[in-house]
């Protein structure tokens, strides 16, 4: 009996002993790295003030300051001289503070005097020290972009990073990015409907980022077209119907101006038919599952339109399907821009794109084609400014690593005569059970609108927490 008891006790001991489990693995010693977001900053004649961003590798472990020194090239510090900074840098060093938990900080650079034509003028900033009130076990480190060259004249950025403000999982914006000037311009996706080409041709583009579609009707009398006339056609005039023929209802996915869904506007009014317009969707407002997108909100409905020419102007007639009268607006060509944009919401012109030579890439939702199945809506798409002369192609890292890729490796013939030179090739598509993800075995070569050659590598599709619509990339002038 005693034996039995002992055995039971022994087992109980084993039971308890085996229930203990090991603890979590200790964390990796982390550096707290501070760097300039970009290694260069340039001013054109109209700019007078810019923020200089400093970024951290991780959230700041505590409050602290970064000490930054500078050297000058034909420039003098002072409010009555060439430049000043905020915080003050009169002493030759500025102390930029930050708070615990911040992911970066910044200081302001004021350009007071332009450079004399033909002479260089600049300030070179260097990170010199980081101090923290409490390092919390991290090691403050200066690494990466430790220097920043500020130029008082416009120069192409030699390298940089950009996080286009696409706007999260609803991908609210079309973002136009200019690499050489490190600038981005955003326009809400559903802020425009039609773009009227400002070049020699008379072409009209539709807004593929909200999945619009148009179909030419037999009629040339906009007031005579009734909802009954188009009832049968309506289900087909849409994106993503998986009908190969529906590709005719959207603009050429290559970006070729000749391929717009609306035919060239003829001088002869009788050749310009009425078009049935599917206005696509409003920008979505739902919050999707983590890693997903919710691009579309309510359907925006239908319009009928007819576009004519009047001298060098366009004349747009538009109306709701039920209407027996129509509105009419004359749209003139605007020099310097590729398109002049019109919105049915505001019934007015709207600003969308920057000047034609001031953007290289457009981050946007996009109406693409799946060969054999027709049009298909894409999130996270990137087009190049094909009409402005920007083209790109993809390089697999297996062929050449990003870091080792130089101007000598550029193959001119590889540039695609297609706005989809980057397209969706920078991400893996995902599928049932897998979310789309960053494709890390590929980078891109871009010839920008000024003829500069850049290599581009994408560093994010989602934010740190996995939320879609937060792309980021780095680039380097070749």
């Amino acid at each position: 009996m005693k034996n039995n008891f002992l055995y039971t006790l022994a087992f109980a001991f084993i039971l308890i002993g085996a229930s203990c489990s090991d603890d979590e693995g200790g964390s990796v010693q982390q550096d707290f790295v501070v760097a300039f977001q970009n290694p260069s900053l340039s001013f054109d004649t109209s700019d007078t003030q810019k923020e200089v961003n400093l970024v951290f590798s991780t959230a700041a472990p505590s409050d602290g300051t970064v000490a930054i020194t500078y050297t000058t090239d034909n420039a003098v510090y002072g409010s009555d001289a060439d430049f000043t900074t905020v915080p003050d840098g009169a002493s030759g060093q500025l102390m930029v503070g930050f708070t615990g938990g911040a992911s970066g900080t910044s200081f302001t650079f004021n350009k007071l005097q332009d450079a004399i034509e033909g002479a260089s003028k600049g300030v070179n900033f260097t990170l010199s020290a980081i101090s923290l009130t409490d390092s919390n076990g991290t090691t403050p480190t200066i690494q990466g972009n430790t220097q920043l060259a500020v130029s008082f004249t416009e120069t192409a950025a030699p390298a940089g990073t950009t996080s286009p403000e696409v706007g999260g999982p609803n991908e609210d914006n079309q973002v136009y990015v200019d690499l050489s000037s490190l600038t981005q311009t955003t326009a809400k996706r559903d802020s425009w409907d039609l773009g009227f080409y400002n070049g020699d041709a008379f072409r009209v583009t539709i807004n593929g980022s909200i999945f619009m579609a148009v179909a030419a009707l037999e009629s040339t009398d906009i007031d005579a077209v009734t909802p009954t006339d188009v009832e049968a056609l309506q289900p087909q005039v849409a994106v993503g119907t998986f009908d190969a023929a529906n590709i005719d209802y959207v603009d050429a996915v290559t970006g070729d101006l000749e391929g717009t869904a609306i035919a060239a506007i003829s001088e002869t009014d009788a050749d310009n038919p009425v078009y049935l317009v599917n206005l696509g969707f409003e920008v979505g407002t739902d919050t999707p599952d983590l890693g997903g997108v919710a691009l579309n909100g309510e359907a925006r409905g239908w319009k009928k339109i007819r576009i004519l020419r009047s001298g060098s102007d366009y004349v747009l007639q538009y109306a709701d399907l039920e209407a027996s009268t129509h509105e009419e607006v004359t749209i003139s060509k605007t020099a310097g821009y590729l398109f002049t944009f019109f919105s049915f919401n505001t019934e007015d012109l709207v600003d969308v794109q920057p000047l034609s030579d001031r953007w290289d890439l457009n981050f946007t939702a996009f109406t693409n084609e799946i060969e054999g199945f027709g049009s298909y809506g894409y999130a996270d798409f990137i087009t190049t400014n094909l009409l402005g002369g920007a083209v790109a192609y993809a390089v697999e890292t297996a062929t050449k690593a990003y870091a080792e890729f130089t101007a000598a490796d550029v193959v001119e013939a590889s540039f695609l005569d297609d706005q989809r030179g980057i397209g969706s090739n920078w991400r893996n598509g995902g599928g049932p059970g897998t979310l789309p993800s960053l494709k890390d075995d590929v980078f891109f070569v871009l010839k920008d609108t000024d003829g500069n050659l850049y290599k581009i590598r994408f560093t994010a599709l989602v934010d740190e927490g996995g939320v879609r619509g937060y792309p980021a990339f780095e680039f380097e002038l070749l």
Partner: protein, 713 residues
């Protein structure tokens, strides 16, 4: 730190030496195996508990002895060896489900003591076999074929009825055990392998009152294979586990009263499980400015809790009527904690916990029988009712971001009668009407018959039907965006399953019962009509919807033999079956039958002198085929795509010491070291096999040692 197999053997052999010192005492006299077979008693589908031989149904039994020889802790550990059953493990969710006659877990029902066991996806269906602990189980009974009259809807391909222990010969029973297992070639005392500890207590207060309780801790630490675990910072597909870590606690309790004309038991179960899923997708978050990475990933921890309460009353009314009533409240809830993880900082953020899926509700089943004083005719009337509240979060399905909550009430009434015509022939017709809050009234029917020929040949014919109810995905899916239109269908009807089985059986034995051979030939045909499948309901714009459109049929034949000779026992089964799919949901299909072969065998030998039993289990699953449309040819045609056959072998040595008090079991699972099996696919290069994309079915050869102490007073 993974342990190589040599080291492992050394570790175990020292273990063996240690216990080897304990004194050996003469073994307790046990019945010969031939005798044991004769006493097999089954509960499933019977009007009264009766012996296998008398049952009109053909019930397969996995005995406690077999469970022990396989050192089975969960149902998933033991069903691998059953003919016609395949286990489908899902490494990415950690679940394992049953496939029987080519139909998945939705068509198969798992019961405990005759009532369906709830899980987070259904009442009795879609059960995760790894969540069913076997520690207080007396035997597992398996019936193939549609059992709608006896067990209601969703019992199309068959049922498993788990019979728990409700009595003991001893006043006190204290049974602790520990079990250590490798997972493939991975083992470590705490951080790798499978670690099980269990304690059972039983006490008989009197001839009437018996209680028992059981606690089990089962820690499956996950299988890495070539993966690197939670802290891997690179996006090379190697983060996380190939088989997810899973930690289970199970507690059970029973109070049993057994009087002369009244019996009752109350049994409860609490089950708690934690499954960790570390995503292989790592966001490296390279920051070009600082030249640093801050890798993050989105991980999920699933925690499941199950409560099970079962009160059963049975006895005699008015001296003749037998009644048996079960009432039950059960619930199982699966919660998910989804969070982002900074891998270098070892830090969680954006933690979001919510209910993932759940089922809860009440269930009752009752029968009354023996209205007639006749030995020849017995009538059973019964009811079954359930009121189950189901919940499926937007994370668990595609419901347009909505959470689905639905109450399904079912009220069934059934009647069966067993009629003996002479000494040789008995038959048993039955019918059930199923009323529910969701679906139109369904009927299920059954007709079984048994005939005893001369020379001990028995012929059984069993015809049964059972519907399968549509699941949440089929009813409520809503996936509509600019490119897609896929929708569930609230108007779906239950699928209709019908099965027919024929069994011819004979027991061979000499007068002295020195040996015994039971042989059985079976043949079956099973048909599922109105099968629910996604089908195109509009060509342009393309739209899909679930509809009752397809048909599935399978037929097969099997031969099983059980031989007991002295201390040797040998089971051998062979089955050959074909399946055919009529896929009206597709543009075109090929409904030719595709055939497959299975063999199962089980050998055990007792050495009474050294109190040792050697066992070897082997099952061969022959190649399986499916039709795949090869579009690479000019004229697309259906080709047979092959899934390789494979063998699954388990073995163990069990030795008892100290007057049967101490049991030591050493063994190995998956001796043939199977992990992935090749499946042919069709792609641009034509038909070829793609070994990398094989079906994951195991984690390789694993070893276990189990040490059990049995204190009976």
């Amino acid at each position: 730190m993974s342990l190589n197999k040599n080291k492992f053997f050394i570790y175990f052999s020292t273990f063996f030496c240690f216990v080897g010192f304990s004194q050996e005492t003469p073994r307790v006299e046990i019945d010969s195996m031939a005798m044991q077979n004769l006493k097999e008693v089954v509960v499933t589908g019977q009007i009264n508990k009766q012996s296998v031989d008398k049952s009109v149904f053909e019930v397969k039994v996995i005995s406690r002895e077999t469970l022990d020889r396989l050192a089975g802790n969960t149902l998933a550990d033991v069903l691998n060896q059953s003919l016609n059953i395949n286990i489908q493990p899902n490494p990415s969710t950690g679940k394992s489900s049953v496939q029987l006659f080519g139909l998945d877990g939705q068509y198969f029902k798992i019961l405990v003591d005759n009532i369906p066991l709830i899980n987070d996806e259904g009442l009795g269906n879609n059960t995760d076999l790894t969540q069913i602990n076997l520690d207080d189980i007396e035997q597992v009974e398996i019936v193939e074929g549609s059992m709608g009259v006896q067990y209601g809807s969703n019992a199309v391909s068959g049922i498993i009825n788990i019979i728990t222990r409700k009595d003991s010969d001893h006043k006190w029973e204290i049974t602790p055990y520990v079990q250590e297992e490798t997972i493939g070639n991975e083992y470590g005392f705490f951080d790798q392998g499978r670690h099980i500890q269990s304690l059972s207590l039983g006490h008989r207060f009197s001839d009437q009152w018996y209680v028992n309780g059981n606690l089990t801790h089962n820690d499956f630490t996950g299988y890495l294979n070539d993966r690197e675990g939670q802290y891997h910072p690179l996006n090379d597909g190697r983060r996380g586990y190939e088989w997810l870590p899973k930690l289970q606690y199970s507690g059970k309790g029973l109070v049993n009263y057994s009087g002369k004309n009244f019996k009752s038991f109350y049994r409860m179960e609490y089950f708690d499980e934690r499954v960790e899923r570390y995503d292989s997708l790592v966001r490296e978050n390279f920051n070009p400015s600082t030249q640093t990475s801050n890798p993050t990933a989105t991980d999920e921890v699933f925690t499941s809790k199950r409560f099970y309460n079962h009160l059963n009353l049975s006895g005699k009314l008015l001296k003749t009527l037998n009644y048996d009533i079960s009432a039950s409240y059960q619930q199982q809830k699966r919660n998910v904690e989804q969070y982002n993880y900074r891998i270098n900082a070892r830090e969680k953020f954006d933690v979001n916990s919510q209910e993932y899926e759940s089922r809860k509700g009440i269930y009752s089943r009752g029968t009354v029988n023996d209205f007639f004083k006749s030995e020849k005719v017995s009538l059973q009337l019964g009811y079954e009712l359930s009121n189950i509240n189901g919940y499926s979060s937007a994370l668990a399905g595609t419901f347009d971001g909505d959470n689905i909550e639905r109450r399904l009430e079912a009220y069934d009434a059934f009647a069966t009668t067993e009629i003996e015509l002479g000494k040789r022939f008995s038959f048993r017709p039955g019918t059930r009407a199923m009323f529910s809050s969701q679906f139109k009234t369904q009927m299920a029917h059954s007709l079984s018959a048994k005939y005893n020929f001369d020379k001990g040949y028995q012929l059984r014919a069993v015809l049964g039907t059972s519907p399968r109810n549509p699941n949440f995905d089929e009813l409520f899916t809503y996936f509509v965006d600019v490119n897609h239109d896929v929708q569930g269908n609230i108007d779906l009807k239950p699928e209709r399953g019908v099965s027919t089985f024929l069994h011819l059986k004979k027991n061979f034995f000499p007068e002295n019962l020195g040996w015994r051979l039971s042989s059985k030939i079976s043949a079956w045909y099973l048909n599922v009509d109105d099968r629910i499948e996604l089908t195109i309901v509009n060509e342009s714009p393309l739209a899909f919807q679930y509809n009752n459109i397809d048909e599935y049929r399978t037929w097969g034949t099997s031969l099983t033999n059980k031989l007991a000779y002295g201390d040797l026992q040998l089971d051998l089964g062979l089955s050959f079956s074909g399946e055919s799919k009529v896929l009206n949901s597709q543009d075109s299909f090929n409904d030719d039958y595709l055939y497959a072969l299975q063999l199962s065998s089980n050998f055990s030998y007792q050495f009474p002198r050294i109190n040792t039993t050697f066992s070897l289990f082997f099952k061969y699953n022959g190649p399986q085929y499916q039709f795949v449309l090869d579009t690479n040819q000019d004229d697309p045609s259906f080709v047979r795509a092959k899934q390789e056959g494979y063998g699954w072998m388990d073995g163990s040595i069990k030795k008892t010491f100290m007057n049967d008090k101490l049991h030591l079991t050493l063994g190995a699972r998956n001796l043939l070291d199977i992990s992935r099996i090749n499946t042919q696919t069709v792609n641009s290069g034509g038909t070829h096999s793609s070994p990398n994309n094989g079906l994951l079915i195991g984690y390789g050869r694993s070893f276990f040692v189990k040490l059990l102490y049995n204190l009976n007073i």
